[in-house]
C-alpha cells in the first residue's frame, strides 16, 4: 500500500486516490470561479475577517503572549487538516477541522486563523487558490465554523452531553462547508435546463459521495480528540471556555 500524502511528498497509487484527495476538503481551485463571483465572495467574507482581525489585534495588544497561543492554534488547525481520516465508506481523506476549531477558539478567531490556514494551503499545498480565497474563506472559515458553533452552543444550552454536542458541531460545520461550496459552484455555473437549483443538485450530489461520509468521520474524530483533551488538557480547555460553566458535567464526561 502506498501512502498518499501531498504533505509527505509521496505519490498516490491510483486515480481513485487522487480524486479522493481532491474531493476531501472542498477547496475551490484557482481560477475556477468567474472574476465577478470571486470578487463578490471576497467582499462577502471581508466583514467577518475584518471583525476577526480587529478582535485578534485587540487581544494581542492587551496580552502580547496571546500571539504565541494563537499561532499554536493556527498550527494545530493546519496540522489537523493534514491528518488522514478513515472515512466510513472505507476510503481515506482529511478533516476540515472547522468544527473543532470553532468550539475551541470561537468563530471570530477562526475567521482569521482559517484565512491564514487557507492562504498556507494555497501556497504550500496547492489546495484552493488566491482568486478563490474569498469563496473558500466564506465556506470554510466563516459558514462552517459559525454553523458548527451555533449548533454546539444551542445543544449545550439544552444540557445535551458534551460529546454529543461536539459531534453535532463538527458534523454540521463540515456539512455546512460542503453545502455552501455547492451553492457557490451552482451560482457560478447554473444548469442550462433548470438554472441554479438543477446545478445545486448536480454539484451537491457529485460531492456528497465523499463529503457526507466525511462529515460523519470528522464528527467521530472530533469526539475522540475532545475526549482525550478533557482528560489531558483540562486547564487549556477551561481557559478557552469549553469547560467553564459545566463543572459537574465535565467530571461526569471525563469518566
Amino acid at each position: 500500500m502506498v501512502p498518499v500524502s501531498q504533505e509527505t511528498g509521496q505519490g498516490a497509487s491510483s486515480i481513485h486516490e487522487v480524486l479522493e484527495r481532491v474531493c476531501r476538503v472542498m477547496h475551490i481551485a484557482e481560477g475556477f470561479l468567474p472574476p465577478a463571483h470571486a470578487i463578490a465572495w471576497g467582499v462577502a467574507s471581508a466583514p467577518f475577517v475584518v471583525h476577526g482581525v480587529r478582535s485578534l489585534t485587540r487581544e494581542v495588544r492587551e496580552h502580547p503572549e496571546s500571539t504565541l497561543l494563537l499561532g499554536a492554534a493556527g498550527a494545530f488547525t493546519f496540522v489537523l487538516s493534514a491528518l488522514k481520516l478513515p472515512s466510513v465508506t472505507g476510503s481515506c481523506s482529511h478533516p476540515t477541522g472547522t468544527g473543532l476549531g470553532a468550539v475551541l477558539f470561537r468563530p471570530p478567531v477562526m475567521a482569521v486563523l482559517g484565512t491564514i490556514t487557507l492562504l498556507f494551503q494555497a501556497l504550500l499545498l496547492a489546495h484552493g487558490g488566491l482568486t478563490t480565497l474569498g469563496a473558500n474563506v466564506f465556506s470554510m472559515a466563516i459558514a462552517g465554523p459559525w454553523a458548527g458553533y451555533g449548533v454546539y452552543r444551542l445543544l449545550r444550552r439544552l444540557d445535551v452531553p458534551l460529546m454529543v454536542t461536539v459531534f453535532c458541531g463538527a458534523f454540521v460545520a463540515d456539512l455546512a462547508t460542503y453545502c455552501v461550496t455547492s451553492v457557490q459552484l451552482a451560482l457560478a455555473f447554473p444548469d442550462p435546463g433548470s438554472g441554479f437549483w438543477g446545478a445545486l443538485g448536480k454539484f451537491g450530489s457529485i460531492f456528497a459521495v465523499t463529503q457526507v461520509p466525511l462529515a460523519v468521520s470528522e464528527g467521530l474524530l472530533t469526539v475522540l480528540v475532545m475526549r482525550l483533551l478533557v482528560r489531558s488538557s483540562e486547564g487549556e480547555l477551561t481557559r478557552l471556555g469549553v469547560l467553564v460553566a459545566r463543572t459537574g458535567e465535565r467530571a461526569a464526561v471525563a469518566r
Binding site: 501531498q6 480524486l19 475551490i28 482581525v53 488522514k84 448536480k202
Partner: protein
Amino acid sequence: MLPIDAAAHASAWRRRHPVDKAVLGLGLTVLAVGLPAWPGAALVLVTALVVLLGPARVPARRLWRAYRVPLGFSVTGALPLLVRVGGGDGFAGWAPGGPAHAGELLLRTSAASLGVLLFAFTTPLSDLLPRLVRAGVPAPVVDVALVTYRMSFLLLDSVRRVRAAQAARLGHTTRAAAWRSLGGLGATAFVRAFDRAARLQTGLAGRGYDGTLRVLVPQAAVSARFTAGSVALLGLLAALAFALRGPLT
C-alpha cells in the same frame, strides 16, 4: 518541510524580491481568469509552463505532484457542466455546449493554477510574510501567521513521528485501533502545540519580549528590469489573446 516550500527555498529565483515574482506569477493568474479561455488561458498556460521549467528551474516531477491537486478538483467540478437537469427534453441529458464549457473551465483553472504555482515554487513564505506589514496587513496578524508557519513544520514532524510510533505498536492494524490512534494523534498535536507555545513564551520573556517578533528577512530589492519585463510579457500575452481570438474561434 513541505515539498513546495522546500523547492521555493532552493529556487533559482530565491533571492529575487517577492514583488518581482508576484507581478509575473499572479499577473499570469489574473490574465488566465480575465482573458477569454481560448486562446487567452491556453497562451498563459504555455507561457507559465515555459517560465516554470525554464528560467525558474522548477523540477518537473515536483511541479506535477503539486499541479495534479487543483487539476483533480477542476475535473470533478467540470463534470456537472456536461449534463443538464430538467428543461424541455426529459429529466436529464447532455448539456448544449457542455464539453466546450467544461473544456474552457479546465483550461482557465489549469492556467491560473500554474501562475500561483510559479509564485509559490519561487517564494518561500518566510520571505513573504514579514513583508505583508508593508502591504497594510496588521502586524499582530502577521506575527500570528509567522508563529503558525514556523510551528506547523515542527508539529507536522511531531505528528509524523507519533504516527510512526503508533504504527510500530500495531496501532493501525484494525479499524478500531486506527480510529483510536487518530484520536490520540489529534489530541497530541493540540497538547504539543500549546506546550510549545508556553515554552516559547517563557524563552521570549527571558529575552525581554515586548509583543513584537523580530525576524531576519533576506535583503532583496525590487528589480525594475524584471518587473518591466514581466509587465511587457503580460501585455504581449493579452494583446496576442485578443489578436488571435478571431482567427482561432
